[in-house]
């Protein structure tokens, strides 16, 4: 993940009415000047709430996102691919650690976030509710899902909340390996046997619709987020992010001789990509729990929690106590 396709709560225009207007003006001026907001600075309730929600969703996406790729570690073709995939999956789980800490600085404890993931209260990136049938699906994720994630993460790294930006700087540095590794895998499939090419083409056919969903609902139908853009919580609209992804990666997919399963996909005279409108009903259905892997993903987390409980209890020391991280 995957800062994309985040679900934001619908914002009522009066939800800022309770804020101190002078403090609010100072806060907004600071963001306009390009300065970062730090945990102990004053911030509107709405800013805090939406940031927690976004960073938390991002963190959950990293650990859930490690599952469809993690399953291929033992079956990756050859020692080198195994090493690389293992390192990548470890990175993703590490990203979750960094992001949970960033969200915690806003006042939500890690326990609460993990509870909310397991009970289905918090969301994670919808794309990980789809299965990885073959090695080629795994390569699609490593290359293109990560590419989509990088588009979002690079944008969000210029956002206004200090701890999130610092976590993202570190994450983006690691993501460059994921992207190169993923592209490398796909080039090998593309230049391999007819069977290998077919394997990737089939994976592409399966993953294209969720990839188009990845950046979230079209601007025409998504909840209005002007205030989040002004506060640099959201750094671009869903359609802008999707367009940027298409612009960077469609030519690279075509270069390898693969067919993207959308007859209407083309760049118009203004440089904007046209495509068949993704099925937003399906997106809603899957995000609300009815996708091919939703149950399994959460069940894996639940089992891990239950099985790890005795270890956590055995390690607990009476002297430690929870505190919010500093920065």
């Amino acid at each position: 993940m995957y800062g994309g396709g985040n679900t934001f709560e619908g914002i009522k225009t009066d939800s800022l009415a309770a804020e101190d207007p002078i403090k609010l003006a100072e806060f907004e001026a600071r963001i306009t000047r390009g300065e970062k907001i730090e945990p102990t600075d004053w911030m509107p309730q709405l800013y805090r709430k939406q940031l927690i929600r976004m960073i938390e969703q991002h963190a959950h996406s990293e650990i859930i996102g490690a599952l469809p790729e993690g399953t291929w570690i033992t079956r990756a073709p050859g020692f080198k691919r195994k090493m690389a995939l293992m390192a990548k999956v470890q990175d993703e789980v590490g990203h979750a650690q960094l992001l949970y800490s960033a969200a915690e600085t806003l006042g939500k404890s890690r326990e609460q976030m993990i509870d909310d993931l397991i009970t289905g209260k918090s969301k994670y990136s919808n794309i990980f509710n789809y299965p990885t049938y073959t090695w080629a699906d795994c390569c699609f994720i490593s290359w293109l899902v990560d590419a989509g994630a990088i588009v979002n993460q690079l944008a969000n790294a210029k956002g206004s909340y200090g701890p999130y930006c610092r976590a993202l700087d570190r994450i983006c540095a690691e993501e460059s390996f994921h992207l190169k590794y993923g592209h490398h895998c796909v080039i090998y499939l593309a230049s391999g046997t007819a069977k290998q090419r077919q394997m990737f083409q089939e994976a592409l056919n399966r993953w294209w619709p969720p990839m188009m969903h990845f950046f979230g609902p079209s601007d025409k139908i998504s909840a209005h987020t002007e205030v989040l853009m002004r506060w640099k919580v959201k750094m671009g609209t869903n359609d802008e992010m999707r367009n940027q992804f298409l612009d960077m990666y469609v030519p690279k997919i075509w270069e390898l001789g693969f067919t993207i399963p959308d007859p209407n996909l083309r760049k118009d005279e203004t440089g904007k990509w046209e495509y068949t409108e993704p099925d937003w009903e399906e997106f809603k259905r899957v995000i609300n729990g009815d996708g091919p892997c939703n149950k399994e993903r959460l069940e894996v987390r639940r089992v891990a929690e239950a099985r790890g409980k005795w270890v956590r209890e055995a390690l607990k020391t009476p002297k430690t106590s929870y505190v919010t991280p500093l920065a």
């Binding site: 300065e35 970062k36 730090e38 102990t40 600075d41 599952l67 399953t71 080198k80 090493m83 390192a87 470890q90 990175d91 590490g94 650690q97 960094l98 800490s101 915690e104 404890s109 890690r110 326990e111 609460q112 993990i114 509870d115 990885t132 049938y133 200090g162 610092r166 976590a167 540095a173 690691e174 390996f177 992207l179 190169k180 590794y181 490398h184 080039i187 090998y188 230049s191 270069e255 390898l256 001789g257 399994e296 069940e299 639940r302 089992v303 929690e305 239950a306 099985r307 956590r312 390690l315 607990k316 020391t317 430690t320 106590s321 929870y322 505190v323 919010t324 991280p325 500093l326 920065a327």
Partner: protein
């Protein structure tokens, strides 16, 4: 469980419902400081949750030093970091420190960290001696306040820190050899070019 993933398919069935987490299920909080190169100052990198200092050090190593270069790392309980007010604009955090009278008792060492650019990390500037952390900050103001704006100052009792031992430093010697974690190890250019040439001809 019915799954394409063989590891998931053979997971045991958990019958008891997973109860809401109790506070501290994820342990206490520890701050992590890394020295990227010999001779460079330590800087704050982030935090980890761990049951104690020893495990915090291990988790910090895994979380923050898999990449780039690292020569040393230390961790401290977040509660042992004494924090000055955070300022902005042209306000210097050193100017806002409350007065403190000379304390009786034996002095100990405190590591001083400064934030000189908002949005960046806190960086180590030196070690001072004081009885209390409040006093350590006042000491730091005398020694390190050059007039340039400092937005935030931290004082950490040196005795509370879990440092890296000289033997442990070997851990990072092999870091540059782990090329498989590096984008530069995945050059597909030649293979891609061959493929494109083949397809054009």
């Amino acid at each position: 469980m019915n799954s394409l993933d063989p590891r998931v398919a053979r997971l045991p069935k958990i019958n008891e419902p997973v109860s809401p987490k109790v506070p501290l299920d994820q342990f206490g909080t520890f701050e992590v400081f890394v020295q990227p190169k010999e001779g460079k100052p330590f800087q704050h990198e982030g935090s980890v949750h761990a049951p104690d200092l020893e495990l915090a050090w291990v988790l910090a190593k895994e979380t923050f030093t898999r990449r780039f270069t690292c020569t040393s790392l230390y961790v401290v309980n977040t509660r042992d970091v004494y924090v000055s007010p955070l300022t902005e604009g042209d306000k210097n955090a050193y100017d806002l420190l409350p007065e403190i009278t000379e304390q009786a008792g034996s002095k100990k060492d405190f590591e001083i960290y400064q934030l000189t650019k908002r949005g960046k990390q806190h960086v180590h500037v030196g070690t001072v001696q004081a009885v209390l952390p409040q006093e350590a900050l006042v000491q730091a103001a005398k020694l390190y306040n050059t007039g340039n704006i400092v937005y935030n100052v931290w004082a950490i009792a040196t005795a509370a820190i879990r440092f890296t031992t000289p033997e442990e430093k070997e851990l990072w010697l092999t870091l540059p050899e782990k090329k498989f974690r590096d984008a530069s190890d995945y050059k597909g250019g030649d293979k891609l070019k061959n493929f494109l040439d083949r397809n054009i001809s």
